[in-house]
Symmetry: C2
Subunit: 226 residues, 2 copies
Amino acid sequence: MAANHERRPTSHGGVTDAIKEAIIRGDFVPGQRLVEADLSDMFGASRAAVRSSLLELTNEGLVEKVQNRGARVRAVSLDDAIEISEVRMMLEALCAAKAAEHIDDDGIAELESIGERMSAAVSAGDVFGYSRLNELLHRRVRELSGQRTAARVLDRLRAQSVRHQFRLATQPGRPSVSLPEHLAIIEAICARDTAAADRAARRHLASVIDALRQAEAAEASVAGAG
Amino acid sequence: MAANHERRPTSHGGVTDAIKEAIIRGDFVPGQRLVEADLSDMFGASRAAVRSSLLELTNEGLVEKVQNRGARVRAVSLDDAIEISEVRMMLEALCAAKAAEHIDDDGIAELESIGERMSAAVSAGDVFGYSRLNELLHRRVRELSGQRTAARVLDRLRAQSVRHQFRLATQPGRPSVSLPEHLAIIEAICARDTAAADRAARRHLASVIDALRQAEAAEASVAGAG
DNA sequence: GCCTACGAGATTGTCGCCAATATTGTGGTC
DNA sequence: GACCACAATATTGGCGACAATCTCGTAGGC
């Protein structure tokens, strides 16, 4: 298993999405070589299509290419993840504030529904469901903000850091820390309080960075002890 | 002049840079169609090279491609420019704060030198020189911050908005508004005052957004009167 | 006179081949 | 026994040609 990339997208966009998904899902691990001919067989596309897809994904920060030495899945270090989270802190705060400004009644109902489902998922210990709601919440806030420039950047950064994101989500005790932060963001946006939304988003991302730093420290001590 | 794109880069990177420069310099105007065969002749490269360059520049937000309908130079609207400036406000503030944290004596000397030259350029009415120093200052702050993720994003956004940037710079009276803002950023960073650097960068970008909005209003009234 | 269907030209999308470069394995020499 | 030069292989980079698609002009029909 872990490999059912046997569609026939043939064309550029399809191959790009397929490879992107495979990287995000973890079918291709960080550092793994991506040989054009192999991908070409795997997805049933021409080498040219694979080639342009690889170029596009390089621009998105998901793969790294070296002249005449091929492409590999980009390995996002913990330092990179922290940098990404710092940028996200700024931009998610911007989007949260904008969302608070522009939100309508339908949006409020939707966000509140997401909040309730998140609480339920955490109560039920449904880590995976909570993780998906987490992603949904962040995406909806980005969309509701109407700030497409920031949304595009955040999309890319999120794709780059899914692995760290997921590791954090499965960390024991993490959901009970992040849930109230998420609820605070929802509450602020639904109250149309831009300043509070900004602060809540900042606090949440600061907490993410803290958690990453702790993971870094834990890993270092394990490495030292092992 | 306005057209001496007759190098022979042949390879991908060279063509990409050449087209990018041509767009940034204004040799290709917003909305202009970019026909692959024409570019291929113009730069002496194969169509495949031009093609991959166009794809890369699409990802950078400098050109827009439509399926089977070709590529055009992206026309960045005033609304787009304001969005971009909003994102820049967040990220330049982050970089300024980080720069204030990490800066060493050499960096301080360099920034102060840039500040002095900016003052001199404004005194002398050297708009073009001031504009170049402006870009230099922002770039050095990005680099000194050590935040490569933010720096990469800012690089792209800046390339997208050069046209608006330039129009602002040539607006009469604008330098005397932006100079003290720039000097405040330099002073805060050199004093290693992260909070002040953050505020100064925010204030500067807020002023840019204001200027853009005024340009929007002025244009609307001209359009209404004409 | 206007609308629709068709066709010629232009432009992009895709593919397979060949050359250039890096990597790996082998043999020889000190 | 280890190091270096060289050749074989694997992989990427670049190019030209062909097919698919779109645009625009033209002719025919209502």
